[in-house]
């Protein structure tokens, strides 16, 4: 079983520990991972901010890089949503049929991490150990774009020692929204504040999600406020075992 | 303004030209078009929905209808009632001041305490009463100005789902009013207040004209 890891531009730069966790986790499950060093970004930031011309080249790059991959695994629901939802439209606008065909052939081989585990590997018990109180925030792209459904919950339910506390309004957007967090920083912060109320009221030690973008936003506020909750990507929980616990977390 | 008409139509035609949409007859209609409740359950549902809206519901047989109407009018404590011109004569209970609508003015209708009408259909799923404003249902103003409305609904007129009502219309009505409870507003802090304009009191008599022997009066 081989898979190529698309780490995503922001994980590569800001959350390499999530990438390391994905590697340790998947290798533990018997997957031979590749990492194509030509990768950079999926183009989401540009496409969603209105810079569509710029997004074209990033989309082309992705499809060309991975056209022969057996499977591509991506620890970010928003990047997968970009690829699944917007690449077709971009290539159609470009009028490039060859690319569209390549994309059509590639798409079934692109997986978000929880999809890769549940659908492609067929496992929900990854042998993880994480003895903490944890709450789960449903990142919007995963929830409504990819319809990940109960996959994260199935995975979390098998983590030994983990106590999962339901998050009120778990499906309400945290307010990150990419460049929205800058262009509408005040409203983004108001949404963050509302989300934090729900997170804090769970009294969980960790808030997890499938996207570090949400967690960077949430974690940035919990750190600012000295709040007693830390953020951690689901990959790091799943990678954590009794013998090799998760890396020291932020 | 025929200039505007032509310009608008031209703009629309340019905007949609070259499009190929599915024909109207092929539009997907996989929603529920027919209910599956039996008659007793359907009536039960209608009563339940009406009562949720605080409409007062009583049931009777066709033979008992005039007496039932008289009883409802009596309990209302009201005296002057307006009646549509085609209301069955036997419904005009004695001892009340009836104003038959042969062209009453707004002021005359406003002066009435209540109104009695028939209806075209009932939709159990939403507790909706449908008026097509025939002679026995009356002009729209009759069920609008008086504060108290008694509506006679035959059980044979009740369907379960909204699409079944539409299927029943021999042709589209020129006028229709769909009443699902007395008027309400939630404009002040989302607190639902009943009876803003239109009749604040809705009374329904369900007439069992489909052979149900049992009569249930839960109030």
């Amino acid at each position: 079983m081989r898979a190529s890891l698309f780490i995503t531009c922001y994980n590569d730069t800001l959350f390499p520990e999530t990438g390391r966790a994905v590697v340790h986790l998947l290798e533990r499950l018997g997957v031979t991972l590749e990492f194509n060093p030509g990768q950079t970004c999926c183009g989401q930031m540009h496409a969603n901010t209105g810079f569509r011309a710029e997004a074209f080249s990033q989309a082309k790059r992705f499809v060309r890089l991975y056209q022969d991959a057996e499977a591509v695994v991506i620890p970010s629901t928003s990047c997968v949503a970009m690829i699944r939802d917007q690449y077709h439209g971009l290539f159609q606008e470009l009028g490039n049929d060859a690319l569209r065909q390549q994309l059509t052939s590639l798409l079934p081989r692109v997986y978000e991490l929880s999809e890769f585990l549940i659908d492609h590997l067929g496992v929900d018990d990854v042998g993880a150990y994480f003895p903490h109180r944890v709450t789960y925030h449903a990142s919007c792209h995963g929830l409504r774009g990819l319809h990940v459904g109960d996959r994260p919950f199935r995975l979390l339910s098998k983590v030994r020692g983990l106590e999962l506390i339901p998050l009120d309004n778990l499906d309400r957007c945290c307010g990150f929204g990419g460049t929205f967090s800058i262009k509408n920083a005040e409203v983004s912060s108001a949404m963050l504040s509302t989300k934090l109320q729900d997170v804090l009221s769970t009294r969980a030690e960790y808030c997890t999600a499938l996207d570090n973008s949400c967690l960077m936003h949430l974690g940035g506020a919990t750190h600012r406020e000295f709040a007693p909750v830390r953020t951690v990507h689901l990959a790091q929980i799943l990678a954590s075992t009794q013998s090799v616990p998760a890396e020291s977390l932020a | 303004m025929s200039g505007a008409r032509q310009q608008i139509l031209d703009r629309i035609r340019r905007a949609i030209s070259g499009g190929s949409a599915a024909p109207y007859s092929d539009l997907p209609r996989n929603y529920v078009r027919h209910g599956n409740l039996d008659e007793a359950a359907r009536l039960s549902l209608m009563v339940e929905r009406l009562q949720e809206y605080d409409a007062d519901v009583v049931e009777c047989t066709p033979d008992d209808l005039p007496a039932c109407i008289a009883d409802r009018l009596q309990s209302s404590g009201k005296h002057t009632f307006v009646a549509p011109p085609g209301l069955p004569v036997e419904w005009l209970a004695a001892g009340f001041d009836w104003k038959l609508d042969h062209g009453l003015t707004h002021a005359e209708v406003e002066a009435c305490d209540g109104v009695v009408t028939a209806c075209f259909a009932g939709v159990a799923d939403s507790g909706t009463i449908v008026l097509h404003h025939s002679a026995s249902e009356g002009r729209r103003i009759l069920t609008l100005l008086p504060d108290w409305h008694l509506c006679v609904v035959r059980t044979s007129q009740i369907v379960e789902t909204l699409p079944e009502y539409f299927a029943r219309c021999p042709k589209p009505p020129a006028l229709a009013t769909y009443i699902s409870g007395p008027s309400a507003t939630a404009d002040i802090e989302m607190t639902r207040i009943k009876g803003v304009h239109g009749p604040r009191f809705l009374h329904v008599i369900l007439v069992h004209d489909e052979g149900l022997a049992e009569v249930r009066n839960d109030n």
Binding site: I7, D12, E17, G19, R20, V23, E27, F35, T40, G43, T49, G50, S57, Q86, R144, R172, G177, T179, F180, S181, N184, A185, E186, V187, S189, L192, T194, H223, R224 | M1, A4, I8, L9, R11, A15, I16, G19, A21, A22, L27, R29, N30, V32, V123, R140, L144, P163, F166, A167, P172, A174, L175, T177, Y178, S180, G181, A184, I188, E189, V196
Partner: protein, 481 residues
């Protein structure tokens, strides 16, 4: 209270308008409460409706069919309405629509007109035009009455006064209706409105309404309401003017079986709203004998022409998108600077303005797609938002001033960085270096300059780790499986 500007041509940008509202705890509480209530009711009813998704599919398909044949359906409606005694007018824009309405009323010698809530009349700014012509517009929806008497503006499509609480209403009514002893009990407030308006209903001989649906097959107009003021306006006066966007048409009477089911549940969380009225032209002896429909284009035909944006016109004005939107929850409708706010407003308003105004609105969203999930006619609002953002940027990037705009510069630079792996690695190194001076001993960044300060105003940022993922991977012993 800060004066509210709902004219997209002059309203402040969304971030500017939102700021004072975010500091208004009362308003945020009112909006959160109201949207929670309607959302919960809607969710309950949708859960019990086993064919809800099939209804949405049918509703979207019906609307797409209408839009794809709009000219035919409008002409059919006009024929049927005219044949049954109505008068149909066509208005290319707001100014034409205003002048048609004013002319009709002037001919009748009307000095007052009672109105049912219609967003369309606010869109075309009808009331000031009526006032200027010596015709007093009297709003009769309780919420619109509250706003009119309180010199306020609507903030929600279905519950326009949801930003006002009971004591604020009490104050307005007591002052404007001369009811010093009025309590703030919603029952008492409603009773006061009822008495005040009844006088109007029975005396004013002209009314203005909108339309929820125009039935092409029969020429009928349908209006959906809760309070009964609609029925009053539609039945009692002699003259009735219905203002309707051209997209409000449905093909047949029976199509209402779909539209009515989805509208009530989406708008107010009810299986059916209290009163729905349908009338066709003129019925002798029953209702207005002088009946006019004004069909309004006002940029809708332009929206129709655009492939991705056309779905905007499916909208049936239910406001489910507003109720579910996490952005709207924080700001209410006034921040959108338009009578159409929330998610639908973010795509409709700039398009009604030919993208000349309200350009900040497509960016007033985190693209969470909660709106798309609840839209009864399946408008993919995020898809349209992204398309409109591209249009705004394409226009703006040609402007000379953008050469100095950090966002534009940043995006161009980022693109060239992402275009090559070595440039990307270099940028990662440079980023680490650039942020070092801002990194505290605890390994976190608390304050950044320029655009970065928009992040750090409320959030810390963890330092860029010394080793990127790709460097770690590259350094791994290659025999590791």
């Amino acid at each position: 209270m800060t004066p509210v500007d709902l004219d997209p041509r002059t309203a402040p940008t969304f971030p500017q308008a939102a700021l004072p509202i975010l500091r208004n705890a009362q308003l945020r509480k009112n909006v959160a409460h109201a949207t929670d209530v309607i959302q919960a009711k809607r969710a309950r009813l949708v859960a019990e409706k086993t064919d809800w998704q099939q209804l949405r599919t049918a509703a979207a398909a019906i609307k797409d069919d209408v839009l794809g044949h709009l000219d035919q359906y409008l002409v059919e409606f006009e024929e049927r309405c005219t044949a049954t005694g109505g008068h149909v007018h066509w208005a290319s824009d707001a100014a034409e629509a205003r002048s048609i309405a004013v002319e009709i009323l002037r001919k009748e010698g009307a000095t007052e007109a009672i109105k049912i809530k219609t967003m369309t009349s606010t869109e075309i700014q009808l009331n000031p035009a009526l006032e200027a012509a010596g015709i007093k517009a009297v709003e009769t929806d309780l919420a619109e009455l509250i706003l009119q008497l309180g010199d306020d503006e609507p903030s929600h499509i279905v519950a326009p006064a949801l930003h006002v609480n009971r004591s604020q209403v009490r104050e307005i009514f007591a002052r404007r209706m001369g009811l010093a002893d009025l309590t703030d009990d919603p029952e008492a407030l409603t009773a006061a409105a009822r008495a005040y308006l009844r006088k109007k209903f029975l005396s004013v001989d002209a009314a203005i309404c909108g339309a929820n649906f125009l039935v092409a097959e029969t020429g009928a107009v349908t209006i959906v309401e809760s309070e009964g003021n609609g029925r009053m306006c539609l039945t009692l006066p002699r003259t009735l003017i219905a203002l309707s966007g051209i997209e409000k048409v449905v093909p047949t009477f029976r199509d209402l079986e779909v539209m009515l089911q989805v509208l009530a549940r989406s708008a107010t969380g009810e299986r059916m709203n209290p009163y729905t009225s349908l009338w066709t032209g003129v019925t002798p002896g029953d209702g207005p004998q002088n009946f006019h429909v004004v069909l309004l284009d006002n940029s809708r035909s332009s929206i129709l022409a655009r492939h991705t944006e056309r779905q905007t016109l499916r909208c049936i004005r239910c406001a489910a998108c507003q109720n579910t939107c996490p952005v709207y929850r924080q700001t209410g409708g006034h921040a959108y600077g338009s009578v159409y706010g929330g998610p639908i407003g973010a795509i409709l308003t700039p398009q009604l303005m030919h993208m000349d105004h309200a350009q900040s609105l497509p960016f007033a969203s985190s693209l969470c797609a909660a709106c798309y999930e609840v839209c009864p006619v399946k408008i993919n609002i995020p898809e349209v938002l992204i398309e409109l953002r591209a249009q705004v940027v394409d226009r703006e990037r040609k402007q000379a001033a953008r050469a100095f705009d950090l966002m534009y510069i940043g995006m161009r630079v980022a693109n060239s960085i992402f275009a090559s792996a070595w440039r990307f690695r270099l940028a990662q190194r440079m980023g680490r270096l650039a942020l070092r001076p801002f990194t505290h001993k605890d390994g976190w960044i608390h304050a950044l300059p320029s655009l970065g300060s928009r992040w750090t105003m409320t959030r810390d940022l963890r330092r860029l780790p010394d080793q990127t993922f790709r460097d770690w991977w590259a350094a791994r012993p290659k025999d590791k499986v």
